[in-house]
Symmetry: C2
């Protein structure tokens, strides 16, 4: 759990004892390729940290088409913050795309931490602030950029991932059809 420890300590300062309290609030789970971590339709009150692996978050739109909203790798959180905050049944699936080791913390545990270790509330306030920025960045990018430039940015940001997951997942992350992505790639090769 080195990555999780480093991650937390890169944001706030904790005494060795506090760090132990925090760490023991997390549970470790291993998921194999294609296994589901969370299901749509159930309450999802865990936050998930990827110690290592590859994970995606997606939902089904009103036509039943998969829309990928997030892809996460080592050292990243893959949360369904909407379900976590609202406590409504989740509308997303979280699925391991490779064998993955996940540390998870339940909302109840987290709230207990808020009370015993004040800086943990700060830590998660900062987390949510970052998530808000990321969501807005992605939203504006979606509106202001063409599918082609979104694809180019995706490759810069995620690099190697393209070879590990089916292209239709990448298409759904870019909010386009697989056909359209196919055409974009063909077009980029020409130039």
């Amino acid at each position: 759990m080195e990555r999780l420890k480093n991650h937390i300590q890169s944001h706030i300062e904790l005494s060795p004892e506090e760090l132990r309290t925090v760490i023991t609030s997390f549970k470790c789970r291993n998921f194999s390729k294609n296994e589901f971590i969370q299901y749509s339709g159930t309450k999802s009150l865990d936050l998930l940290f990827i110690e290592n692996g590859l994970v995606r978050v997606y939902y089904l739109d009103n036509q039943g088409i998969e829309i990928t909203i997030h892809i996460g790798m080592d050292d990243m959180w893959v949360n369904n913050l909407y379900a976590f905050i609202s406590e409504k049944p989740s509308n997303v699936y979280i699925q391991a795309l490779e064998n993955s080791t996940i540390y998870l913390i339940q909302k109840r545990q987290l709230e207990r931490l808020y009370e015993t270790i004040g800086s943990m509330e700060t830590f998660f306030r900062l987390k949510i602030e970052r998530a808000y920025l990321a969501l807005q960045d992605r939203t504006l990018n979606q509106i202001n950029s063409t599918a082609e430039s979104r694809y180019i940015e995706f490759k810069v940001k995620y690099g190697d991932i393209e070879s590990k997951v089916p292209q239709y997942i990448i298409a759904s992350y870019l909010s386009i059809t697989p056909e359209h992505l196919s055409r974009i790639k063909k077009n980029l090769l020409k130039n």
Copy 2:
């Protein structure tokens, strides 16, 4: 400042003394119709609560077209959370659409409150959580609904506002052109 007091007390419990401390951290400002409250290009580290009035938040896209991201009325916050959190120069304008009374708090004051009154960090964590949900709702709505049904929802949510602001502002809030909104309205009358 009755509305601000009620607003805060509807979220957390404060002693009369704490409430006084909180309230005195805010400053009151009056803005007249069309006056700007915040400008693009400057750091914007204030949060704004509308005691009464009508306010909009917008930015200029890469073609210089105004995109309205939020319209606020009595009892609502009209923050540029992106600039507030990231502390980067703002890319949005915040403008009074009617004469408005605003209570504002500076980030520095707010952070001082976090230290002296613990529940204020909780209050703002909750605020940011709500803002996250609202942003995601709006994003998904944008993707999954047609312009027409977004317009219908807008009228339900904002009712009277339509008569108070130019239609091109509403169009930009709906992420469509004024021409297209004009057609939508014509179409709805037919049916």
